[in-house]
Symmetry: C2
Subunit: 354 residues, 2 copies
Amino acid sequence: MAETPAATLPLFHRACLGEHVERTPIWIMRQAGRYLPEYRALRERHDFLTSCRTPELACEITLQPVRRLEVDAAILFSDILVPLPGMGVDVTFNPGPHLARTIRTESDVRGLVVPDPRESMGYVLDAVKLTRAELAGRTPLIGFAGAPFTVATYLVEGGGSKSFSAIKSLLFSAPAVAHELLGICADTAGEYLAAQVDAGADAAMLFDTWAGLLSPADFDTFALPYVRRVLLRVQAAAARAGRVVPRIYYAGNAGGWIDRCRDVGADVIGLDWRLDLDRARRSLPGLTLQGNLDPAVLLGTRELIRERASAVLDAAGPAGHVFNLGHGILPESDPDHARFLVDTVRELSARRAS
Amino acid sequence: MAETPAATLPLFHRACLGEHVERTPIWIMRQAGRYLPEYRALRERHDFLTSCRTPELACEITLQPVRRLEVDAAILFSDILVPLPGMGVDVTFNPGPHLARTIRTESDVRGLVVPDPRESMGYVLDAVKLTRAELAGRTPLIGFAGAPFTVATYLVEGGGSKSFSAIKSLLFSAPAVAHELLGICADTAGEYLAAQVDAGADAAMLFDTWAGLLSPADFDTFALPYVRRVLLRVQAAAARAGRVVPRIYYAGNAGGWIDRCRDVGADVIGLDWRLDLDRARRSLPGLTLQGNLDPAVLLGTRELIRERASAVLDAAGPAGHVFNLGHGILPESDPDHARFLVDTVRELSARRAS
């Protein structure tokens, strides 16, 4: 699939491909964010959407944690709801997302479009190019999108929710409309992620934050086929570009249907802290696992961080692991604890590998 | 353990004990609640706390779904936070719970007391006696309490939460204080549930809504031992009374550590819809399972309800199953759909058993 010989690939890529590596690579979900004083300083001058939509700002925010933490991958500063305006639904953040309208009927769905990412998300593609140039091959850049079920959930609920009864009601009382909506979300995410790969993203990640709302059977019906559709588009884009572009699927709250993640078409499955990686490994032979330290552990002492990081490395085993938190770093985390985690994982995993 | 011969026990009890039964018993979490017009009518005249604290009202609300749905068990109308004022923390509901103060430090915890349920929750015990008299042995009555970790989470967060960083921060930065708090919550729930058994409750259920926030290792540390402590108290109360009182542990979002539920000391494990009962069965041999239809299925068509109820019965297998939703019935549910579910489970399971 790749022209690049595996030996010259970055550590992050080699771990994603399941190779035995000299140490476990680490990056941190939401590593560019509110826990960093340099991020808060920048956000005092620019609001969230402006920061996403201005390539120079998105690039700068993306690079902040790379400088401070020396993580093994950068992830583009953006949001999974960035494609919505192009689809026909405006979004504001304060700080949670609020959609200008909800999508709940057949005619609502008919009014949506699959946007051309070069037209409506050109600023993201420019940010990918700019950031990749700044990183100059030293650190790979992960592009991302929201998984179809998760984005559909936001479109139907109109924002966050507690009971998620609007999306569930759509799935169960109007499944044909739900499938049409999910298809549009899949095509949007597929085009968008493929465009990020074309623009130079070194890896592609799909975030399925809300898939954990589904029973195993409903995951099979309403999530899995659409994730596959997106990741096949990414695979095609990578093949066209002749580059190794690992595909990462983040499955939030997947304990009940972890075995199903085998079939989503990803190289790497990202997991939260609610299940042990050794159990996930048995369900997902041959796939690399990403995670899965409880983000709240960073609120504890350094002793605890070291002990828990070590337990994650033990559960992950000798290969096929990218260290990460199980969910985004909490805003109240001490950046020095994040750096301590990176150094600790580096040290402990190198010792295990030698 | 029991003086009552098993043959004379109610269907619900025999299913809880794992016997092969003539049909699968069914009740519905939050079966007394907002989806019922008769409940809304009563609540127009009495607020939530008054309804909990007035035995005649709590009894009437408890009986409403028994009359309308003819479920196989009643569950006392109350709330898991009812013991808080007796512990020293006032609560209001609008509609979510808001605590008058949070418990986050060693001195906060020292200020809590384990209340005598006969003093501060006497109205609940009166409601148990009154309701049991009204039910006259036709339908068993389930008493309940919040599990220690879940109640501790409310005490620390002061209400609901999105990130639950306050409780996690306590667990990870001050584990000794957390254990002291969990011990108080366990003693409170133990005394309270035992008092409900003394007052005549036919079964005892512990709700651990928030245990799914925990990693498997943290479940072992911060939830499991305290659940055991409560359920041992219940077991002792039942033995003293010479009655069979099934112990039910509801584990929300337990996919990642379902195997651990083997050791909580319950007869029945209640599960949400996020995992299949056949997988849970393999992890929990010898225990009865309660659940686990997605509550949102009741928002769909009768065909869907029938199809999904049938799938739950198939996954549950021939014995050791109490049918229920995987979480509380949604307020927007049609009461006729709830009744249809009860009738369908009765019909389908009787056919399977014959």
